[in-house]
């Protein structure tokens, strides 16, 4: 394919992105093992997974920063697999602070426009508009070393958006920030992404971030896409053992299954598809699906209670020494103290099971 600059999604209409059977080897390591994802125009896909699962490799391949050994990437229907980075028109925000230290915030944002031959007056106006969008117009004359980490990442976002990219790529842009700023900025990124309507690929290892921001969340493990689904579906109906264990907190409670239902703590509940084990298994039950009731004859004993603001989490030991974590509203935790005997029950939500 010839190297041509792609038309940006200047109208606010995102473009579709297709990963078609991507493969990438680093020596003996198969970092991408046939990754295929269809991203709808304007959609924000969060790629979630542990370190080394291939999520950043996929993002870098889309940005042209890393080469593929096999497979195709289509953006807006065009095959861009062989197009060099500087011709792809992708806006990228990196994990590390990547503002050019020798340029002010305004010059950083205007740099991509300067490369596109926009005259100085027009690019300054555009840069200031974009800085306004991220709420940092007053910082326009500051250098990166005069700004906080959160401000630098906002400027980096403005710089990526100023060129009206076809796709926005976010490579763990919040991981260097403290928790409070991270939460603020993720909401801001999501607000701007919806406002601009740009197709976005967001890579993170933070489940909360992925579930909070993604229209769909793709969970990756060892170069493979385990499951891609809307956050609620991913959380409630994991399709693989890895997803069930990786996403959210999970209890492993001894149970028995016949392949259709599973009996956990004396209650029969539906089994999620994807689990092939029979007989004695371990059910993967979310803490919020465990009900705890204080009772003198209860089979469990409370080990510890953690107050989490509006929520409360209790650790309960079963007679077989299995430790179960239950999560409830703080107002429902009255009477739960270490040493108290409790009854445990499981909500009738479908669960995933794994071999004992």
């Amino acid at each position: 394919m010839t190297a041509t600059t792609m038309n940006p999604a200047a109208t606010g209409q995102g473009v579709a992105v297709v990963f078609d059977d991507l493969h990438r080897w680093y020596g003996p390591v198969h970092a991408l093992q046939g990754l295929s994802i269809d991203i709808a125009p304007g959609e924000l896909i969060a790629l979630l997974g542990p370190s080394g699962c291939g999520k950043t490799t996929a993002l870098r391949a889309l940005g042209g920063l890393d080469e593929l050994d096999d497979g195709r990437i289509l953006v807006g229907g065009k095959d861009i697999t062989g197009v060099p980075t500087n011709k792809r028109n992708m806006g990228i925000v990196f994990q590390a602070y990547s503002l050019f230290p020798n340029m002010t915030a305004r010059d950083n944002v205007a740099y991509g426009l300067r490369l596109r031959g926009m005259d100085k007056k027009a690019r300054t106006r555009k840069a200031e508009e974009t800085l306004e969008m991220v709420g940092l117009a007053v910082q326009a004359n500051r250098y990166p070393h005069q700004m906080s980490g959160g401000q630098q990442q906002r400027i980096a976002l403005a710089r990526a958006l100023a060129i009206e990219p076809s796709v926005l790529l976010l490579d763990e842009p919040l991981s260097a920030l403290d928790a409070k700023v991270r939460r603020q900025l993720r909401e801001e990124i999501r607000r701007i992404q919806i406002m601009v309507g740009i197709t976005t690929l967001f890579v993170t290892h933070d489940q909360e971030e992925a579930l909070a921001m993604g229209d769909r969340v793709g969970v990756m493990s060892a170069g493979r896409l385990e499951q891609i689904a809307p956050p609620a579906e991913l959380y409630e109906r994991p399709q693989t053992r890895f997803v069930a264990e990786f996403v959210g907190l999970t209890n492993r409670i001894p149970a028995r299954t016949d392949g259709t239902d599973v009996e956990v703590l004396g209650r029969r509940i539906p089994l999620l598809p994807g689990a092939s084990d029979r007989g004695a298994v371990q059910a993967l039950v979310r803490p919020e699906n465990v009900r705890v009731t204080p009772g003198e004859n209860g089979s469990g004993r409370v080990l510890a209670v953690s107050f989490l603001g509006s929520l409360c989490r209790a650790q309960v030991a079963l007679p077989d020494e299995t430790i179960v974590v239950a999560q409830m509203a703080a107002s429902e935790s009255t009477g739960l103290h270490p040493g108290v005997a409790v009854d445990l029950a499981v909500a009738p939500a479908p669960v995933f099971v794994v071999a004992s």
Partner: protein
């Protein structure tokens, strides 16, 4: 419970205050402190003396006038310094040496900066190899380099006419000689910068490699470029062995020749060259763009 903690802290306070008070200083500790100060000053005086004494002796020698038998002292004159200009070879050699220094700096930067940036960004596993190659001239004696490179200079002289025979061709070997020092200066700046991420960011915004290097990377390693240039100039201004063995008349070679005829002028030239080099390097390091560096301050996140 907290009450008991407070009580304990209150009770502990006077003792803590006593611990913070200065211990009484005995006569012995005062004597030790005086001795330490004396040793410190002595070391300082010795080091400064070691550096200054030869310069002072040179100045004293180069400014000697006629010997007065009655007072048994020398008169003072600047004749030796004035005589520098009367040696045409000397002035010419100074100009040539400065040209070689300038060409060496340009050549070194053109060779090293793109190579090092490319290595860091694209082939980081080659970093060790590049470092090894750049440090190699430190390990090879000058005479070995000359023996190895002499046939090339002979070929240049025979086949490229005046250009090949020009002392400016020393630039080629000087670029090699300055590599270890210049590499170190540039490397420390590149390590302090997240070069790979900056390059990725520039390229994602539409910059090709030349723009990435010259508009984004180079302005951020100006300190390293300046340091490597200063080191290169200093090395070229002081290089004697190779120029002499290859029979090129650089300033150091000519100073040596003049010294065989007129020791006063030779010492005057050496001093003048030293002062000139010092002023030049000071001016470059003080006033050249990029002499100051931007460092990341700890800027707090603004309140929401």
């Amino acid at each position: 419970m907290s009450g008991s903690v407070n009580t304990q802290m209150g009770a502990a306070a006077p003792e803590g205050g006593a611990l913070l008070a200065k211990p009484p200083r005995g006569r012995r500790s005062r004597r030790a402190s005086r001795r330490q100060r004396f040793v410190r000053y002595l070391i300082l005086i010795l080091v400064v003396g070691y550096l200054i004494a030869p310069l002072f002796a040179s100045l004293e020698f180069a400014t000697r006038g006629d010997f007065d038998r009655t007072t048994k002292t020398y008169g003072r004159t600047l004749d030796a310094f004035a005589a520098i200009l009367s040696y045409p070879n000397l002035v010419e050699s100074i100009i040539v040496t400065l040209q070689i220094a300038a060409l060496t700096v340009v050549g070194m930067l053109l060779l090293l900066v793109p190579t090092m940036v490319w290595t860091v960004v694209r082939v980081p596993r080659m970093r060790r190899v590049v470092e090894f190659l750049c440090l190699l001239p430190l390990a090879i004696p000058a005479i070995v380099i000359v023996v190895g490179i002499a046939p090339i200079y002979r070929w240049l002289g025979q086949n490229l006419g005046a250009v090949g025979a020009s002392p400016l061709t020393l630039t080629l070997i000087n670029i090699i000689l300055v590599l270890p020092y210049s590499y170190r200066a540039l490397d420390s700046d590149l390590r302090g910068l997240d070069t790979a991420t900056l390059a990725d960011a520039a390229r994602s915004l539409g910059a090709g490699w030349p723009r990435t290097i010259f508009q984004v990377i180079v302005p951020n390693i100006r300190g390293g470029i300046l340091s490597s240039s200063v080191l290169a100039i200093a090395l070229v201004l002081g290089e004697f062995t190779i120029s002499s063995l290859l029979s090129f008349n650089t300033v150091q070679v000519v100073i040596n020749l003049v010294g065989q005829r007129d020791a006063y002028v030779a010492v005057a030239v050496s001093l003048a060259a030293l002062v000139f080099a010092f002023v030049l390097l000071f001016a470059i390091s003080r006033f050249a763009p990029g002499a100051g560096s931007r460092t990341q301050r700890a800027v707090e996140e603004p309140a929401a």
